[in-house]
Symmetry: C2
Subunit: 146 residues, 2 copies
């Protein structure tokens, strides 16, 4: 992550801006501030997840499975694509969620290689208990940092 407390100094940015006229020091400063803010929020959210026995990725998989009522299941590769996380990571994450009874796995009806991941009631329950805190944490963070 990008947890820099001390961002590059304004002088440092100005020095580079002088050398490259297309560079806007404010653009760069904004980007660095954005990465710092995102990191801090992510860290807070991770604390929330770990208290609930989840990780960022485990949470996101559950949320993604819950978010489209018309799609009761998603395949490994669909999860990988939508979360932008590599397939090997999704494989192990789904395995761990399955061990916990939060999701179940079924062979896909039409493609013998594919596996359908389904959100199970315990997974739905843990998600439901976490979502209010999740959204409020984000909401509060944004309220205090704008």
């Amino acid at each position: 992550m990008f947890f820099l407390k001390e961002l590059p100094t304004a002088e440092m940015l100005d020095r580079y801006a002088a050398q490259y006229q297309e560079m806007h020091p404010t653009h760069v400063a904004d980007a660095l501030t954005m990465m710092r803010q995102a990191s801090l929020l992510l860290r807070e959210l991770e604390g929330l997840f770990s208290k609930a026995g989840l990780s960022q990725t485990r949470f996101l998989v559950l949320m993604m499975l819950d978010r489209e009522p018309d799609r009761p299941n998603l395949r490994i590769s669909e999860l990988s694509d939508r979360l932008d996380i590599s397939k090997p990571v999704i494989t192990t994450t789904v395995k761990s969620l399955s061990d916990d009874g939060y999701v179940s796995l079924q062979p896909n009806e039409f493609d013998g290689r594919a596996k359908d991941v389904l959100l199970e009631p315990p997974g739905k329950a843990v998600l439901k208990s976490l979502l209010p805190k999740y959204f409020m944490t984000i909401n509060d963070f944004m309220s205090h940092h704008t």
Copy 2:
């Protein structure tokens, strides 16, 4: 990181906003977008670093050592504090930078436990070659994403 391509739907946010009146759906949507943007930029920068044989953390250590001309050296714990990265990680990162000749380590004059980390000419050179690309990557990213 937080690479979600598909953020929670607006409906989903509105549903929660209805339950918690202090929650502003736009706040939350902005936060999720921010985390996604930060993740994408970070991924781009990591590509840049790895081409130069560095990692995010290795780069940040070099930058931090270079950024205060009046402080030619920093201790492990100062780097840890300023970069907001745990001390064990700084220890191993500094060790690897030292193996590459980019920094050197000296016992601190006043505190027998502490170690001073100094930026060496090869480290300064690699940093100097990378900084323009670093700032321009950030600048371009911000130009295209605002």
